[in-house]
């Protein structure tokens, strides 16, 4: 049953482009699937080897893993690491900080990427379009350490260009980098600066596939610019937006580690601590791989539930899910 509903839902979205399918007999279908399955073989082997086989090692979440003793030789501790994690007095704070940062990324950074892609798409001068596109994607290639030290430079008290600017506007001498109220805005700002341009690439690829005749027809029908964007451009990237949204909900607990770790300090740590930095401190820095794996497992379960849930929701609203 599930497959049937799924097939209907999926074909619903692309029904416009699908021809009514002829009923093929079993033999023909078999022949067809053989080829398809053959094409998939390398991919399936890849997933078995490099994605599923290592999961055998994830059992260290239930052990006190000591590398020298090997996975099976390490003592079994059951749910101990999970208990430690969930009963940790900092847990509510970590969850809150993580969710706030995830929400900011989802509701600010993600829409900005779409807006940016649309604005770029509206540029008529091709050379300008290409130049701007290339410029905005440059920051993606600077590592977080470089981005954070550049931020330090720009907000340096006394002579940082942005510090001077904000200082003149607000008339206070705040150390923006240490002020807890400024932590989240700065994180979002860095994220937007570094990744927006890069994120537009995928939408621009989708927009490249849009049938130009549609625009011409719309213009002839007297559609204004905004109407064209609303009725042609946006629908053509809708499925990409939905897929990206679904995939992002699965990553909601993964705020990334490096940027936040580098931006946090003694004065803003109450708002800066997230699961990923916590795992780094406890798991990696202290060398407790079992604990880090247990937290990863707990996060993954939440991620799986969220992805499958939003995917189900998307289909409920007759959109094309991811599968």
């Amino acid at each position: 049953m599930a497959t049937l509903i799924e097939a209907q839902a999926a074909s619903g979205a692309s029904a416009a482009t699908l021809r009514p399918q002829n009923r093929r007999n079993v033999r023909e279908t078999l022949a067809r699937y053989r080829w398809l399955l053959f094409l998939m073989l390398p991919g399936i082997i890849y997933f078995l080897l490099f994605r599923f086989w290592p999961m055998y090692g994830a059992q260290i979440a239930f052990r006190d893993y000591i590398p020298f003793l090997g996975i099976e030789g390490s003592p079994w501790v059951g749910w101990e690491h999970f208990e430690t994690f969930f009963t940790n007095p900092d847990f509510p704070r970590l969850l809150r900080n993580t969710l706030i940062l995830a929400a900011l990324s989802l509701f600010i950074a993600f829409p900005l990427t779409i807006v940016m892609a649309l604005l770029l798409n509206e540029l008529r001068l091709n050379i300008l379009k290409r130049t701007v596109q290339t410029l905005v994607y440059v920051p993606h290639f600077l590592s977080w350490t470089v981005v954070v030290s550049l931020t330090g430079l720009l907000f340096a008290i006394g002579n940082g260009p942005l510090w001077t600017l904000l200082n003149d506007v607000m008339g206070t001498e705040t150390n923006f980098l240490a002020d807890p109220a400024w932590f989240r805005p700065l994180i979002v700002l860095q994220d937007v600066w570094k990744n927006t341009g890069w994120g537009t690439i995928i939408f621009l690829a989708a927009l490249a596939g849009v049938d130009q005749e549609q625009y011409e027809a719309a213009i002839i029908d007297g559609a204004g610019r905004w109407q064209r964007v609303w009725h042609i451009t946006l629908p053509s990237i809708r499925s990409t937006i939905i897929v990206l949204l679904i995939l992002q909900t699965g990553q909601i607990l993964n705020t990334g580690f490096e940027q936040i770790y580098l931006m946090s300090n003694a004065l803003n740590r109450t708002v800066a601590d997230v699961f990923d930095t916590y795992v780094y401190f406890v798991g990696i820095q202290q060398g407790s791989y079992s604990y880090a794996t247990a937290v990863g497992l707990a996060k993954a379960i939440v991620g799986v539930i969220l992805i499958f849930g939003t995917n189900w929701l998307a289909k409920r609203f007759n959109q094309q899910g991811i599968f």
Binding site: R124, L135, V138, G250
Partner: protein, 293 residues
């Protein structure tokens, strides 16, 4: 097509265009300025970097930093290695991903839902560093370039997006090719792939950048320094300095800021250049319209 648009220009449209151009130029400038500082800094003296807060042109021009890194044969070899591994790796990863994405784009494929669920699962949950390391070791890939390419050969995210694009392609061409007796491999190669150039170019770029920027794989899989890629050196000079007194030997000055910037430039510019090159393929997607018409 562009001509049609211009004919229907309105005053409001012109205002929008003007604002749009201004905004995007401003955004582009903001994006590039810090990068230009790093570029300028890589040609500045250590003294200037210490005393000037932010500049786009060094007062005193020096290429010492570049001379210093390029004088090392280890570094030059890493540069060549990185280009080669990125090229070969991108091709392999893209082909493997497309091969798997195409069958999955067929909504009537049996077992499709199961496979997709498992793929999504691997995207959210990875077993972690050490278990993956042990598998790579078991497969005998340690200290080979394969270790930089194969463990990340199919990115679930890329697979899902590419699959999605394939799914949205007009089916008429495939159908007619099938009637002509073409098998699925040929349809993929001569119908689907050419129609999907923009998305394939995008993910070629994603994969290339992924390999290029990957520092974890060389770090844990390659112990032979002669096989290292650029990121190993980039990380070493840019990673946040946590050098407190005890770490160092007796008289070691910290790595010069200028060297840092120069390494950032050498490790960034080649991959930056890949984009304008791939960009032209994005426009080729226009094909779809003409084919259909």
């Amino acid at each position: 097509m562009a001509r049609v648009k211009y004919r229907f220009n309105t005053p409001a449209g012109k205002v929008f265009d003007a604002v749009n151009v201004t905004v995007l130029i401003a955004v582009g400038t903001i994006a590039i300025l810090p990068f230009l500082y790093v570029l300028a800094g890589s040609f500045a003296t250590e003294y200037e970097l210490t005393t000037r807060p932010f500049f786009l042109w060094p007062n005193e021009f020096t290429t010492d930093a570049y001379a210093s890194i390029l004088s090392s044969s280890v570094f030059v070899r890493a540069f060549i290695t990185t280009i080669a591994v990125t090229g070969v790796g991108t091709a392999i990863q893209l082909v493997l991903t497309a091969l798997m994405a195409y069958p999955l784009s067929k909504i009537d494929l049996p077992g499709r839902r199961t496979i997709m669920s498992l793929v999504v699962f691997t995207m959210v949950f990875s077993a972690g560093l050490i278990p993956t390391f042990l598998v790579v070791k078991q497969l005998g890939l340690l200290d080979t370039y394969w270790a930089l390419i194969l463990p990340a050969a199919i990115n679930p995210f890329s697979l899902i997006i590419i699959k999605n694009f394939f799914q949205e392609l007009p089916k008429e061409l495939e159908e007619s090719a099938k009637i002509d007796g073409a098998n699925e491999l040929r349809i993929l190669r001569s119908v689907v792939m050419p129609l999907s150039k923009p998305v394939l170019a995008t993910f070629a770029l994603f994969y290339a950048v992924g390999i290029w920027n990957d520092y974890m794989s060389p770090l844990i899989y390659l112990s032979d320094t002669s096989k290292w890629t650029l990121q190993m050196f980039l990380r070493q000079v840019t990673a946040a300095s946590s050098l407190t007194g005890e770490d160092l030997g007796n008289e070691l000055p910290p790595p010069a800021q200028g060297i840092k910037f120069a390494v950032v430039m050498v490790a960034t510019i080649p991959v930056l250049l890949a984009y304008p090159f791939l960009q032209k393929h994005f426009a080729k997607g226009m094909l779809i319209g003409s084919v259909k018409g």
